[in-house]
Assembly symmetry: C2
Homo-oligomer: 251 residues x 2
């Protein structure tokens, strides 16, 4: 029986990521979270603050994956164009969401009150729901299979917490890591053979150079815990038999 695989894409929106000024952290954070939901992150696109680029990416990914997350471009300033671009892609109007307005009203009451810029953060594509933001005022937005998240990683973290358990997924991907002070070029054949003989398991090889020595961590991934454990045991035994000490959990 082949289980249905649930997939997701992420669209990271922001000139500051492409220019190298800001190191993206949302891909790793959302990817990790998706694994736990039993959803496989399959593709990420990083694009600038550009309406045409956002529309094209949303069009391409929302048809292709079960879930699509966007990050960035939902603040109050002129370069925050994500909501408008997504509404354009979906062919709907942009409206003020009454609950978002009420949230922002309460949040900004002790902070000088709502102004036009702050009210921008209550704008959503018509028909959208809100995603709670436990950190600051402005909520995230859910529209069909699109999840519109903040660019600031700890705000997105809070929004992910709010979504935990609410997205349908398959069996979570589980993983185990075996570390070894083996150059991966010395054990490539062994790895290939181990992967081939363990159906339903993928083995990734991640070399490193530390303390003047070459080693690698081997990450085994599967949706089946018993297959995963069997593969990890066999891989460790094969490495030991080839003369390489192994470290459960990785080096």
């Amino acid at each position: 029986m082949t289980e249905r695989v649930w997939t997701a894409g992420i669209i990271v929106i922001g000139d500051e990521i492409l220019s190298g000024r800001t190191q993206d952290k949302n891909v790793a954070q959302i990817g990790t979270w998706l694994n736990v939901q039993g959803i496989r992150l399959t593709e990420v696109r990083i694009i600038g603050d550009d309406t045409d680029a956002i529309v094209a990416a949303v069009d391409a990914l929302r048809a292709r994956y079960d879930y699509v997350f966007t990050t960035g471009g939902i603040g109050p300033t002129h370069d925050d164009i994500t909501v408008d671009a997504i509404a354009q892609a979906l062919g709907v109007e942009v409206v003020i969401h009454p609950d978002a307005r009420a949230i922002l009203d309460a949040y900004y009451a002790p902070r000088g009150g709502l102004n036009e810029a702050r009210l921008r953060m209550a704008r959503v594509p018509a028909g959208a729901d809100l995603i709670p933001n436990s950190y600051s005022g402005a909520p995230g937005i859910r529209m069909g299979n699109l999840y519109i998240m903040a660019g600031v990683p700890h705000i997105t973290a809070g929004m992910l917490d709010a979504l935990t358990g609410s997205l349908e997924g398959g069996d979570p991907l589980v993983s185990r890591t075996i570390g070894s002070w083996a150059a991966e070029s010395e054990i490539a054949d062994l790895l290939r053979a181990q992967e081939k003989s363990h159906e339903g398991c993928q083995i990734g090889s991640y070399p490193f150079f530390r303390e003047g020595k070459t080693g690698a961590n081997f990450v085994i991934r599967s949706t089946d815990q018993s297959r995963l454990d069997a593969c990890a045991a066999d891989l460790a035994a094969a490495l030991e038999a080839a003369g390489f000490a192994t470290v459960e959990g990785g080096i």
Copy 2:
């Protein structure tokens, strides 16, 4: 006169990035380096170790941008399929590059010698050139407008050093940062007006929360230093006039 804008795309290849296990650093590193070459990074796609996904991304991006960089998947193990997938996308054979073989031969001579797995790293799409790797043996690969780089960030850093000055570009993008303890929702109109009145400059707004206070850094980007300086001076003056102290260089 509108200057020609040179563009680039990056394809990050690796299950470990999508799973969240590894934090990508190549996008920020290559994006920063491209700015200095006068080339604008316009799109990034992150995909898994999957031939079809690599072929599709290479096909899409190499036609669209002046330069395309790939990172990852050029090591000696079974999950390193980048060279084969790119050759398939280009419709050429995979061949052993004689210079790459000689480099690997010399590199591995004191390390147990070449074996089949290590020789995999001499495989290139037919017609490709090599990019020197100053850190370890296996070189990068240049094939038309495709630059095939390592996944390990410091190896890619060395390959970028080797390429510095060799890619045709336009005027480098220069930037200045003005920091302020202003909530961006308080100065959104001011920012929008400043950007509108300074042609050839983009202003990005990057909010933060520190020491219990809200602030933002405003990054002004332009290919024209005098326009950049004029915009920075006017923006700082406008913020000060609105009652917000500014910090040249950002907070």
